[in-house]
Subunit: 379 residues, 2 copies
């Protein structure tokens, strides 16, 4: 088995949606998959037990954050990130590019890499494709990502082109550094397609990334401020140039509607902080649409967040109680909503997988949105 390799099990006969498996050292991931985000190694406010209860297959961590705190020495001594955070299952790290390029006044892009200041203590650091590979090898996630420039939005055509070409150069350097030792036997390095919203740049990036050849490809530079229509156009402009026999990962996406639309267009993997971040603000995703549990209308609603959900929060607690927990500033409120929203996203991908098995993707999509937009949940 090549780490990160993809097995295509079945394709929809009516769209690009596909059912598959991604093989990693620590387990097989059924796709389409939603990957909860644990920026600092921990999915915010939920425990490992709760993540397993929600049937999470793989979680993300951020190599920028882990590198700064707790630092690589501790991760190395722990025996890798999966031992450190006791998840012990498949993990993915992003390269830190996205974070560093968000630092604006705190970074300087050079040809060989990026100089930046820590958001924690202002200390100076330098990251290059080579250093990013060394960092991600030490962290030890099953899937790691090329170090690239996440092109900001909006960008001029020229900026986007130069940025995409820089990321391409860096991808070559990442691959070279990554394959220098035996890490590739247990870790997989995915390439990242850039090119902003320009279709020809996306095509060029995809084709040239394929030439470099990675076991999987991500579409980056999305979820950075562009419209949903633009994001889907980027997917449409990219997927046709990606190989059928490799996994496709849409970075930082998404909302339930994004997942359906992107799977339809050929995407296999998703990650997004919204389920946990919005959960901490009281927003719950339900079969009948989104609701904010802090609203007064839920004070006396003794039904679960989602009558069709079997997560720990819905098995054990009512809307009225969670409303009380939020109003009383009890931490458990944040845990319950995060947990529920993660479970919702995972269940959503389960529905999609089931539909793909019976080749009823569009029927399932229609069913989902008829309920999801009915707003019954918020009544």
């Amino acid at each position: 088995m090549i780490a990160g390799s993809y097995q295509l099990l079945k394709k929809s006969t009516r769209c690009k949606a596909r059912l598959g498996k991604v093989y990693t050292t620590r387990g097989i991931i059924d796709t389409p998959v939603f990957m909860p985000v644990g920026t600092q190694g921990s999915v915010k406010s939920v425990s490992t037990e709760q993540l397993k209860d929600a049937k999470a297959q793989i979680i993300l961590a951020n190599s920028y954050h882990i590198y700064l705190r707790p630092g690589l020495e501790i991760i190395k001594k722990a025996g890798g990130i999966q031992k450190f955070n006791s998840w012990n299952g498949p993990m993915l790290t992003d390269s830190g590019g996205f974070q560093i390029f968000s630092l604006n006044n705190f970074r300087k892009i050079k040809d060989d890499g990026v100089e930046f200041k820590s958001h924690i203590d202002g200390s100076k650091h330098f990251l290059s494709p080579e250093i990013s590979m060394q960092i991600q090898k030490t962290i030890g996630a099953d899937i790691i990502m090329c170090f690239d420039e996440c092109t900001p939005y909006p960008a001029t055509y020229d900026y986007a082109k130069n940025s995409m070409l820089l990321s391409l150069q860096w991808a070559k350097r990442c691959k070279e550094e990554f394959y220098k030792d035996e890490a590739h036997l247990t870790q997989a390095l995915f390439g990242i397609i850039q090119g902003s919203v320009f279709e020809d740049l996306r095509k060029e990036s995809a084709l040239k990334m394929r030439e470099i050849d990675f076991p999987g490809y991500a579409i980056g530079g999305v979820s950075v401020g562009e419209s949903k229509e633009e994001m889907l156009k980027v997917v449409e402009a990219t997927v046709p140039y990606l190989p059928e026999d490799k996994a496709r990962y849409l970075m930082g996406v998404g909302m339930p509607e994004d997942i359906w639309e992107s799977v339809e267009r050929g995407i296999d993997m998703f990650d997004c902080v919204i389920p946990t971040r919005n959960g901490r603000n009281g927003q719950a995703f339900t079969s009948y649409g989104k609701l904010n549990i802090k609203n007064g209308e839920f004070k006396e609603d003794f039904t679960p967040l989602d009558s069709e959900c079997d997560c720990q929060a819905c098995r054990g607690y009512t809307k009225a109680y969670i409303n009380h927990l939020f109003r009383s500033q009890e931490i458990l409120a944040l845990t319950l909503l995060s947990l529920h929203n993660i479970h919702f996203m995972i269940k959503l991908t389960d529905k999609i997988k089931k539909a793909l098995e019976s080749d009823t993707f569009f029927e399932a999509k229609k069913d989902f949105f008829e309920k999801y937009y009915s707003k019954k949940g918020a009544l």
Copy 2:
């Protein structure tokens, strides 16, 4: 079965420690018992599942807090506090006296009750023995407490005497109000002994409370600033005047050492916010003493909080990781330490029960403290 009745199973042959059971509508409680505190209905930062995993038998709630928020209407509609918070097991509410008397400038004591202002919105409220009984009936905990004045510390002899006599009067009114309907078939009303640190007042309070006759007795007005020696003297001055066939509850106590010393002096029930409150500040109780997980020495300590503990936190996580979670301000840190500390207190009472079964209380106590004060855990 009389709600709240106590069954004495075995007494130590060398001290007043005793093994027993308290019968409640929602379950039988093995004593000595540690009761985690869920002030607002929820034990802070842990879920019901996690509490059950820690083998909690009964939890507390505060009727003052529940009365103000979410309010009795919602509790009534939910079908009682155990349905509302989905604990579904034995619960105990205190009367609110302790909270109201802590409000200082916000309350006025009269013969018939206390006028006070809400700490949430400043709204005016009035609580009397009768109203407290009505509130606690509506909340519906299995064990409820008399409304009394928690005598502040230090108090003059005269203040303590008058305060104790007022609480005695109020206890009579509580009992009268409580037995007006059939609530006593499913709920138990416990009396509370007051008298500050004055031994004759404690004796007088105990004897007169017995005359009123309750299914169980608490020692209140402790853990209010007095020394540990004074607290234990209060226990010694009170227990001899309490009946053998009823449960004895030491309110707001305690730390591990308090539990051992108080069980030795005849106490059966304990509650304390320290395991959760200190847990949220990074303090962990372990077999080898207390430690603060935020300390730098734990950054690279890949052992569990307590090598002899089998709680969820110790089964799944290392000190190094929990240290990282605290430093990264991850909510999971608070959950894990709260959970661990609750489990520690419950395990401690399990050790005591086991020792009482084999009549080896002092041997077990010596073993416990030899380790607990060895400070090995903090090395």
